[in-house]
């Protein structure tokens, strides 16, 4: 059976290359997903942290004290990161600790907030109001980002499933049923054109769905795998259904 399956790809070096590339790129596509989850978890916790800091400042605590208290209270990734940074900051200045925290978070939201806090401290600006304003701003921003994610995720999966799985299967079924190879139909050029088309269509589908969710670059890591899936479905489908 294994030899039978391998035999189907005997004259398809491009397809074999894309399958290999797809597996390799899929492995490369996992780290951006993990990193994104970590970053979003930190960013979703950020408004609550800013609000708590603002409240603590209002109660008369200093910013450093308030941050330490919040690092103890917060059980999420943000709290853990804050605790680590503050523990390491004993040997340096508080400003350096804020910069270190921003760098470690690898989040542009956290980096902007820390930059603004540093600037506000430098300029002796009303920190409590600034933190409260930023908390509100980032809460709205994160709500919008989460809403975009939840509303468009289903549509993005729908596009990929239909273009990369449904369409090649449907065409393979039509071709295999009406023009089976076992009855002498000569469709090498035709099959080659359609195999290439499904690969390209999958690339477009992945690009569009990635762009819809605002992360096209990390989505493109999965493009070769989906291209390989759709080309394989068509190629194997025609041979299995057409005999």
């Amino acid at each position: 059976m294994i030899f039978g399956i391998l035999e189907m790809f005997r004259n398809e070096p491009l397809l074999l290359f894309i399958i290999t590339l797809g597996v390799a790129c899929a492995i490369g596509g996992i780290p951006p997903i993990i990193e994104r989850q970590r970053r979003r978890s930190i960013e979703n916790d950020l408004p609550a942290l800013l609000e708590a800091l603002s409240d603590s400042l209002g109660a008369g605590l200093g910013l450093q004290q308030a941050m330490m208290a919040e690092a103890d209270r917060n059980n999420g990734k943000l709290g853990k990161l804050l605790k680590e940074t503050l523990a390491e900051s004993h040997a340096s200045t508080f400003d350096a600790a804020l910069s270190n925290f921003a760098t470690k978070s690898r989040s542009s939201q956290v980096q902007r907030v820390m930059h603004l806090i540093s600037t506000a401290i430098e300029q002796d600006a009303p920190l409590r109001n600034i933190l409260a304003d930023m908390s509100r701003d980032y809460e709205r921003l994160n709500d919008l980002m989460n809403r975009r994610e939840s509303d468009l995720m289903g549509r993005s999966i729908l596009i990929i499933m239909f273009v990369s799985v449904g369409l090649p299967f449907l065409i393979a079924f039509i071709v295999g049923l009406f023009a089976p190879r076992s009855q002498g139909f000569q469709l090498e050029d035709f099959n080659s054109s359609f195999t290439m088309f499904f690969g390209a269509a999958s690339l477009v589908a992945i690009g569009v769905s990635g762009r819809m969710l605002g992360r096209m670059r990390s989505a493109l890591w999965w493009a070769p795998l989906w291209m390989a899936v759709s080309m394989t479905i068509y190629h194997v489908g025609v041979q299995v259904i057409g005999g």
């Binding site: 980096q111 549509r155 023009a179 088309f197 269509a201 589908a205």
Partner: protein
């Protein structure tokens, strides 16, 4: 592309300007702080502006040049507010706060619109992506299916049909890409 980059950064620039100027920092020092980085294309613009000011060019002229370069409406409005502050000494902080609030409302609306507009993309993409290949696949196998029925349908050359099929597949792909382009051009820039 520039407009998208500007729209992504402008709200944060307004907040920073608000903090800096609200705590007594002058406009030039606030622009200098933003030009140090962290605000993408706007930091780059401000860095060029500061460089020219340091060479002795008047700030008013530089702001006018930046106004011409800016593409995003919000960014243009902020530069215009700065320009008014330089020429007429207007209350920049209050104006920036109002602009920030308005821009945030606009962004929320833009995201809602984006989600609504993209609602039709999967259906359109699938309609073109499915109907095109189905028709073309039937056309592609037609010469062999109709063999022996030349008197009824005329002679169909497999090579010519394949050229038509290939061109059709190319146009289908181009159509799908054009529909998908909507996801990029309408991006609200979060």
């Amino acid at each position: 592309m520039r407009s998208l980059d500007e729209s992504r950064e402008i709200l944060y620039v307004i907040r920073t300007l608000d903090v800096l100027m609200g705590s007594g920092v002058g406009l030039e020092a606030a622009i200098h702080s933003i030009s140090q980085g962290g605000y993408g294309i706007i930091s780059k613009d401000f860095a060029v502006l500061m460089e020219n000011i340091n060479k002795g060019k008047p700030m008013e002229r530089e702001l006018r040049a930046l106004l011409k370069k800016a593409e995003n409406d919000g960014y243009k409005r902020v530069i215009n507010t700065m320009l008014n502050n330089v020429t007429q000494n207007t209350d920049i902080i209050e104006t920036l706060r109002k602009q920030g609030e308005r821009m945030e409302e606009t962004r929320t609306e833009a995201v809602k619109e984006y989600i609504e507009e993209l609602g039709g993309v999967p259906e359109t993409l699938l309609s073109i992506g499915m109907i095109g290949p189905i028709i073309l696949s039937i056309l592609g196998i037609a010469p062999q299916l109709m063999e022996g029925a030349e008197e009824l349908f005329g002679t169909m050359n497999q090579g010519t049909i394949m050229t038509i099929v290939n061109a059709g597949l190319f146009f289908t792909l181009a159509g799908m890409a054009m529909i998908g382009l909507k996801a990029h051009t309408k991006d609200p820039g979060l």
